[in-house]
Symmetry: C2
Subunit: 343 residues, 2 copies
């Protein structure tokens, strides 16, 4: 089968690799419906760590179960399933408390080939959620989005305690930030302020529910948020970037007693304790517990209540994975979908 | 009247100063029932900032209203009242959301003379809570504790989402940490682990409800907490110190998805964003919104359900304020009460 491999900085290739097989009793093998590139894949693509042997990339997936190990009970061959970037047992105290991405037996799906034709998923019972019926083809992008960027944007909104009557600010206009806007809208936010200076992303932000756009960044951006909220700041702020500037912008844009949900994978961030203390905000984030949100998200997608697949603004045949990475790296695309030939 | 003044590092004096007077329509003048020294007063005492002119110290207070300004409606002369270290209007959006210490019109009471015989309290209607009747003399220490250390320990427990069935770890064995233990017990925690290596404080921790004592610090202390919680870590951790070591200890002692309530005034703390991200904890703290908790705390004290005044293990006449500071600085006392002569 074919799989994407990263050979070095900006060196993406599609290789022939062996088919995955059941290795543990709890495994499932999935034929992927499509593949995609995540903004967080770009860290490796840009060469944050040296690469000697080619590495697997990607961690988002959905598709049809082909085969399951003898211990699997909750999914069966023929089911269409969606999972998260962490496989999780679904039974430990952390999973049961709503944090499957913190499962004590979790497995990073980035270690498998998620940008590939077939995928092995360990801990299938705890990890995979089946759709009630086979989805129409046009729903595949949305279901794939649920696997990470929607699930992560949704968690950011939940972590920021978004709800009716609240004013929400969103820092970051990538797929996660944009889907954080969709989540905030769905969760009943009264006002949603998108921080973006990119016209096509502003347009999608508005489509997803943004009521205001702020183009300023840093302290100027914070001042604009304060202006829009009678000087108080937002009730809830979503941070979907992962840099020092974005984190400080999120904390400073939030009112005292308000909530910051941060889901940008943190790079080089050091939060000043005294500033956080006097900000009086709640701060919560991390790798999103997507599995916990999947049942609700799948319902919303299958009923066509939400259309998160709109974040895919570039669709390419699987063999053109290198171009998908390049387009996202150069911000020519928000998010790239890789499709397989129809059988 | 007499008031404590700090003339320089470790130079505490009791001066004669003018009586406070009504300066704004919302003011109240209180005759203080007793005074006390806070752990956070020790930062100034130890000379963290150079002192040229003598400064006021202290920010905890309770006593009997003597006089009120023409705009005051909710308290009257003769009432026994308790307030917080931030005066607050009680009407802004931040106050109404439960964060009076973040009030947009807040006034730091440290700017007034709280270690004194009489005190001016601005924004009296929003700030002061009257007891239902005059308290017995033996309740004065507990009511004074409610003004800050109890209110702050209580907020730490609330911020850490302490509740029935939860395992709680407490970092810091000062008055706030100890009263965080009392709060955790009162809020229904199943297990309360006090981190302390001081025998008299361990004893008070047990009296307040600690079920386990951990004497190790840093990574060893974290390992002990994990041992005591099947490897998961505490559900809720209270940080009542304010140093880098204490903050990291609190974050690391908490399970994924758990809650850290931090109330130690932060000094030189920088929280690594990546560690916080992958810890998946909730982090919330800051200057405690004591005013919001006062009605409940006063009820618990007046009904003798709790006895937070037990943290005062040194009682001295007001004129011996210097010795009160020295005893706390040298950790000979947990918290010092300064008493006035009876009328």
């Amino acid at each position: 089968m074919r799989a994407v491999k990263l050979y070095g900085a900006r060196d993406v290739r599609v290789d022939d690799v062996p088919m995955p097989t059941i290795r543990e009793d709890g495994d499932a093998i999935i034929k992927l419906a499509a593949a995609c590139v995540c903004g967080s894949d770009l860290w490796a693509y840009r060469g944050i760590d040296p690469i000697t042997d080619p590495i697997t990339v990607g961690h988002e997936y959905c598709g049809v179960v082909q085969e399951v190990g003898p211990a699997v009970r909750h999914v069966k061959p023929g089911d269409f399933v969606v999972g998260s970037f962490f496989a999780s047992d679904g039974t430990c105290e952390i999973c049961r408390s709503g944090y499957p991405s913190g499962c004590i037996h979790r497995r990073p799906m980035g270690a498998e080939n998620c940008q590939a034709e077939y995928l092995r998923v360990p801990l299938a019972d705890g990890t995979l959620v089946a759709t009630p019926e086979l989805p129409d083809a046009d729903l595949i992008p949305s279901l794939l989005a649920a696997s990470d960027v929607l699930g992560t944007g949704w968690f950011a909104a939940k972590a920021a305690e978004v709800g009716p009557g609240k004013t929400v600010a969103v820092v970051g206009d990538g797929a996660v930030g944009l889907l954080g806007i969709l989540a905030a809208k769905q969760l009943g936010a009264e006002r949603i302020i998108a921080m973006s200076r990119h016209q096509p992303r502003q347009q999608l932000a508005r489509e997803f529910g943004a009521t205001d756009i702020v183009t300023e960044r840093g302290d100027e951006g914070v001042a604009r948020i304060k202006d829009l909220t009678h000087g108080y700041g937002a009730h809830s702020t979503l941070e979907a970037v992962g840099t020092q500037e974005a984190m400080l912008q999120a904390i400073r844009a939030t009112r005292r007693g308000g909530h910051v949900g941060f889901v940008g994978v943190q790079h080089g961030v050091a939060i000043p304790g005294d500033e956080l203390f006097f900000s009086q905000v709640h701060l919560h984030g991390g790798p999103a517990p997507v599995r916990a949100h999947l049942p609700e998200l799948i319902d919303l997608i299958m009923s066509r209540t939400i259309n998160p697949g709109r974040v895919f603004d570039l669709e390419l045949p699987f063999d053109q994975a290198a171009e998908a990475y390049a387009a996202m790296d150069e911000r020519r695309a928000i998010k790239a979908l890789l499709t397989f030939d129809k059988e």
